[in-house]
Symmetry: C2
Subunit: 356 residues, 2 copies
């Protein structure tokens, strides 16, 4: 069967060797003659999986000792609630940067818990850029931002220096490059981009946030409870955590976040280079804010749509249809996508130019 | 390799054909030449999975039209919070039946949202029986019970008739027998016993509960939002839902909940028969409340422990160590366990009697 170039925005491409090993573990895990998904999460075999996954996160992101790493469920959508519940005081306030649909959802959920201040928004230009030069109120309980906006193809290149605790939803670019964890009080990320399959969510928590807002927090939403129980407060999502471990092992074996940053920058340079060079295409996002994960672009002339769509389909390219709120195309180049895959897309773009 | 008899309390045994098909889908799903876990959850292939899973739940449990079926994440632990948030009024109250550790956790979480009344408890005898003849306050917003208590090996054989909405955590015996859904306003169940792997949680919701308590509920915790979005409000746990679909297909192909009830009763009769017959063993739970899912038993004489433990280990029996709060042994006989597996355990129990 021919290789499919999977540019899906998430759930998305994972390394082939990870998929192979995950498939085998569903049949027979650790030579137990049992499937990974039918053993107790408290068995020594699965406890070892959870421990290694947490260790790999700490090692790859150089997480300082005063941080906990836990895996929960519910995606970033539950993360929005957990963030506010754990960090906003009763009658407190929080500052949010509105860079897209997900950033917007985050602040809407926080409004259930207190006063939300939108410090800046790029909604005026359909979120095609990252606002800068905004002020964060010094009495905010925290400042929340979204590092990468999959739908619009924008990415925060430098996190702001703020006087309040910094919280970031890194769902769509975590592990794509080094990050200075010590800048943040809380990082959370759904696994289903660079880390693993849908169904587990990573939290990196500065320990001194525990109990800070004085709220009585229901257990599943209380980060301290999960940290105290080493992500085993209740049954964890066994398979998603296991595949995350495999993916992080793959990342480490290949050279870690420094290696992947270089590869991701090379892929982005290749694709954005073609978008800028080829008169048939226009980029959507402001150049300085272009995402290395998701490149959004449109045809200069919609008349070429049918031809182009047929061509990339024929080239076994999958998942590049743009989100309905932006239109055009979106090529997601997550960690597991190699340069060859991006080259395959660029070849089709060049071929279109030759053909029309 | 020899077959392992997996009596694990959960995550637990799943049908062999389900594990085989799940393993294949992680390599190549629907002949897409892509893994199940790297395609978009909004692709037609995965939408078909979610639709079929929901349809199978409705068909197998004969769910009336005025109920919604949704799949979320977070297990029963998040279900405890979701239940109270969606059903308890501000300053309202709810009635709970305390039949064990999980029932107890459920009521503790509800206390974050209002007044909790414990109508009865079997804590006095380490939860070895199901209380009966209790009164449920008629002004309670709902009455909550736990259908099966894995740790103690007890099970509610007949649900009480109450004048308030009935809510049940059916995590450990759903799909093990027919259930009259129309009795309940809300049923929830973590998948990781009879339904699939850890990481997805089923909710069966009477539609008229939506908005009933007048609370403003954060989105991920709001059942109506998930129902309106057909369990796709955010990225669902793709793999756990898929494996649940396979397991429910298996159940349907074999004859549904009537068939499995008969098989589960035969397994329970075989094991409890031996526990009662064999002078070396004593059952833990009150006979009338014995669970068909989890049989708890102890050695009459602890001196035989080493011998017995060696014998069942040699017989490839796995996962029968009792929970620390009960001790002894716990044999979980979930749907995928066949009579042969229970017979293997019974044979070892008989063999012990012959040997000592």
């Amino acid at each position: 069967m021919s290789k499919v170039y999977n540019f899906s925005a998430g759930p998305c491409i994972l390394p082939q060797e990870v998929l192979k090993e995950a498939s085998e573990a569903v049949s027979n895990f650790d030579d137990l003659n049992l499937s990974l998904i039918e053993i107790s999460h408290r068995s020594k075999n699965f406890v070892a999986v959870m421990d290694e996954t947490v260790s790999l996160v700490k090692e790859l992101l150089n997480v300082p000792d005063n941080y906990d790493v836990v895996f929960l469920q519910g995606g970033a959508s539950l993360g929005f609630i957990i963030t506010a519940y754990n960090l906003m005081r009763e009658n407190g306030s929080a500052a949010y940067l509105n860079t897209g649909a997900w950033a917007n959802k985050a602040q809407k959920e926080a409004a259930h818990f207190g006063n939300v201040v939108e410090v800046a928004s790029s909604k005026d230009k359909n979120y095609s850029y990252i606002p800068k030069g905004y002020e964060v109120p010094s009495d905010a309980d925290y400042f929340h931002c979204t590092s990468n906006n999959t739908i619009y193809g924008t990415q925060i290149k430098e996190f702001p220096t703020v006087d309040v605790p910094l919280v970031c939803d890194m769902s769509s670019d975590i592990f794509s490059k080094p990050v200075d964890v010590s800048q943040f009080d809380l990082i959370y990320a759904g696994a289903q981009k660079n880390m693993g399959p849908a169904g587990s969510t990573l939290y990196i928590i500065k320990k001194d946030i525990y109990g800070r807002n004085g709220r009585s927090i229901p257990s599943y939403l209380n980060l301290k409870i999960h940290a105290d129980k080493d992500s085993m407060f209740n049954t964890p999502p066994v398979f998603p955590v296991y595949v995350s471990m495999l993916t992080l092992r793959w990342l480490k074996a290949n050279g870690g976040v420094e290696w992947i940053q270089e590869r991701n920058e090379a892929k982005a340079a290749l694709l954005y280079g073609e978008i800028d060079r080829n008169p048939l295409f226009n980029g959507v996002a402001a150049k300085e804010d272009r995402s290395n994960m998701n490149a959004t672009f449109v045809l200069a002339n919609e008349a070429h749509k049918e031809t182009f769509d047929q061509m990339w389909n024929d080239a076994n390219i999958s998942g590049i249809k743009g989100h309905r709120s932006v239109g055009g195309y979106r090529a997601s180049m997550y960690n597991a996508m190699d340069l060859e895959g991006v080259q395959a897309l660029v070849n089709v773009m060049k071929e279109l130019e030759n053909r029309v």
